[in-house]
């Protein structure tokens, strides 16, 4: 038996029913990945990962998910601030509408985007008639689909951070002569930085895994709209299981590379 430190012993024991249930959860969440690893063709992995299909999908996925996260930061933080700080009529309705993409099936989102920005769409038609620019089936389309689905995660996280922040620091800055814009920039944003980072990571992760809205709105064109989740699905459908596994492995590695350094500090909002 290992001697535990007195400090460890002084800590309360976990309630016993939690342990087996937690263990089942870990097994359930980890086994699928082990199964994937078990099927991985390790010898031909280098060649598989070098294929243009895989390289294109990786490049496109990183590009679109990061672009979506950037757009979400620029446009989502102002809305989060308004929702958290500024009482206005219909605020709860706006919040519910903004968060709708989080709960709706992404396919529905993709269809809605088509009706809005498609060639015959509400906004898409006049824009197309004027400029000839079309969102669907373009890389911009993927970014729009990603942003639509992922941005609510950022908004809700930053709003929660703003609500729980000690606002007296903002009062202190105001008494020192700071305008509301200076207060926002130099006090509010640094103080809710952990929430912004957590929201951005959640948003990015959601964008990276986006499938339904993307395939509906932007299609599945290699090098232009075929992100990694789409490529995985296509490879599985066409019987190229090895390529599907290689792509999945790549997604896991990329995701872990971002999530692991965050750990508790940023993700415990």
């Amino acid at each position: 038996m290992i001697r535990t430190r007195r400090a460890d012993r002084a800590r309360a024991r976990p309630p016993w029913p939690l342990l087996p249930l937690a263990a089942v959860t870990v097994v359930f969440l980890v086994v699928p990945f082990l199964a994937l690893l078990q099927r991985t063709p390790w010898t031909g992995l280098g060649e598989l990962l070098g294929r243009p299909l895989v390289v294109d999908a990786l490049r496109l996925s990183l590009l679109t998910s990061l672009a979506a996260t950037t757009i979400a930061l620029v446009f989502g933080i102002p809305l989060a601030w308004l929702l958290a700080r500024q009482p206005f009529p219909g605020r709860s309705v706006i919040r519910a509408l903004v968060l709708l993409p989080m709960v709706l099936p992404p396919v529905v989102g993709g269809a809605a985007l088509l009706f809005a920005f498609g060639r015959r769409g509400l906004l898409g038609e006049p824009v197309y008639d004027q400029t000839g620019f079309l969102l669907p089936y373009s890389t911009w389309g993927v970014i729009v689909a990603n942003t639509f689905v992922a941005m609510p995660f950022l908004i809700i996280t930053v709003e929660a951070g703003l609500r729980s922040m000690d606002r007296r620091y903002e009062d202190a800055a105001a008494t020192l002569g700071a305008s509301s814009w200076v207060v926002f920039r130099r006090i509010t944003v640094p103080m809710v930085a952990p929430s912004i980072v957590a929201g951005a990571v959640l948003c990015w992760a959601r964008a990276l895994g986006e499938f339904g809205a993307t395939v509906t709105f932007a299609g599945n064109l290699q090098g232009r709209t075929q992100t990694m989740p789409l490529a995985v699905f296509l490879a599985l459908e066409s019987g190229d299981r090895q390529a599907a596994i290689a792509l999945s492995l790549l997604l896991i590695v990329v995701s872990l590379a971002v999530m692991l350094p965050m750990r508790d500090r940023w993700l415990a909002v």
């Binding site: 007296r168 620091y169 009062d171 202190a172 800055a173 105001a174 008494t175 020192l176 002569g177 700071a178 305008s179 509301s180 200076v182 130099r186 006090i187 640094p190 103080m191």
Partner: protein, 351 residues
């Protein structure tokens, strides 16, 4: 010169007070928690709008609902020292002090140079680069005061500036604060629930209870003649003037000597004793109290469950005893008694 008439309702608290302070004068708003003191301070700072009245500094209206004037907080010529200081956690001490100057448009190098001057003046130059987390309570207090004064306000507001400190630090910081407040030429408003803060720091006291002023006057007046039971309880502190006669010894004007637990901080000092700390005996007590004097009861005031006993003698004191003790000791005007105070119950301040 600061004058304000503040009428405002917050929840069930209805505030209606008149507050004023001349340049170079410190006025304490003294009262229990929930009396409305902090709300009054927030109204002066513009963090709340008043409903009735007028707030002005040097004739400039900050808030005047009748004239539809409301100057935003950022434009008011004020400096505020907040309870628990609210130093910006992600900035160094220097940048905290420079913040107000930067916000008012001063270039960064100039603002930092000015801030460094304040830190130097307040004896914390070595903490220039420290984050607030790394500062002690006393150091944070200095940074907070430097930050509030750096923008050259006309009015300094302090909200319980000593409440966040432990008892020992509080005594030192209070003395330090008293010295440095004297160098600020504008009007100063101090909110506190601690009568000793008011005694040491303020020239004049405004006692606020339940949103109303119950008494105003100099510290000594209010302490001598508390106008209500509440005020008596709050500020009925014995103040004894004397001079240093040793590292832990104070000689009073009457010639009696007091042994104090804290080091005597200067030559001319004031010793504060709470009436509850004065023990009254019929026989000379033997044992721990080191400050024992003979006295004669000159007056007994009974107020519900508290009895205030005026004691004449070499050390005039007010003692507070229970009605039970009053009966047991058979105290009445003229009764000879012994008064005793423990050294640790005496707080000493420079005057």
């Amino acid at each position: 010169m600061f004058t304000a008439r503040i009428g405002l309702r917050i929840g069930s608290l209805d505030i209606d007070v008149a507050v004023d302070a001349a340049d170079g004068e410190t006025v304490a708003l003294l009262g229990p928690n929930g009396a409305g003191k902090t709300t009054i301070l927030r109204a002066i700072a513009g963090l709340l709008a008043i409903e009735r009245g007028r707030i002005e500094v040097d004739g400039l209206a900050l808030d005047d609902p009748a004239a539809d004037v409301f100057m935003p907080t950022a434009d008011r010529p004020i400096g505020v020292v907040f309870q628990d200081y609210l130093l910006f956690p992600r900035m160094s001490a220097l940048d905290n002090v420079a913040f107000g100057l930067r916000a008012r448009g001063m270039a960064k190098p100039a603002a930092r140079a000015a801030a460094a001057g304040w830190l130097e003046k307040f004896g914390i130059a070595e903490h220039t680069a420290s984050r607030p987390r790394a500062l002690s309570g006393g150091q944070s207090q200095r940074v907070a005061l430097a930050r509030a004064l750096a923008t050259s306000p006309r009015l300094l507001l302090m909200d319980e500036p000593l409440a966040a400190l432990d008892a020992r630090t509080r005594v030192q910081v209070r003395t330090w604060l008293r010295r440095h407040l004297a160098t600020f030429g504008g009007a100063r408003i101090l909110v506190t629930h601690d009568p000793v803060d008011a005694m040491v720091l303020a020239d004049r006291v405004i006692v606020v209870e339940d949103g109303r002023i119950v008494q105003t006057g100099t510290v000594t007046e209010v302490a001598r003649h508390p106008r209500s039971r509440y005020v008596a309880e709050l500020v009925g502190v014995n103040l004894l003037r004397g001079s240093a006669a040793g590292p832990h010894l104070v000689r009073l004007q009457s010639g009696s000597e007091l042994v104090v637990a804290d080091p005597v901080p200067g030559d001319e000092v004031v010793v504060a004793v709470r009436p509850q700390a004065v023990a009254v005996y019929r026989e000379k007590p033997s044992g721990s109290p080191r400050n024992v004097w003979p006295a004669t009861v000159s007056d007994v005031e009974i107020d519900r469950d508290r009895v205030r006993v005026q004691l004449d003698g070499p050390v005039p004191l007010v003692a507070e005893v229970t009605p039970g003790a009053l009966a047991e000791l058979e105290l009445a005007p003229g009764t000879p008694v012994w008064a005793a105070v423990k050294a640790v119950e005496l707080s000493v301040y420079t005057q």
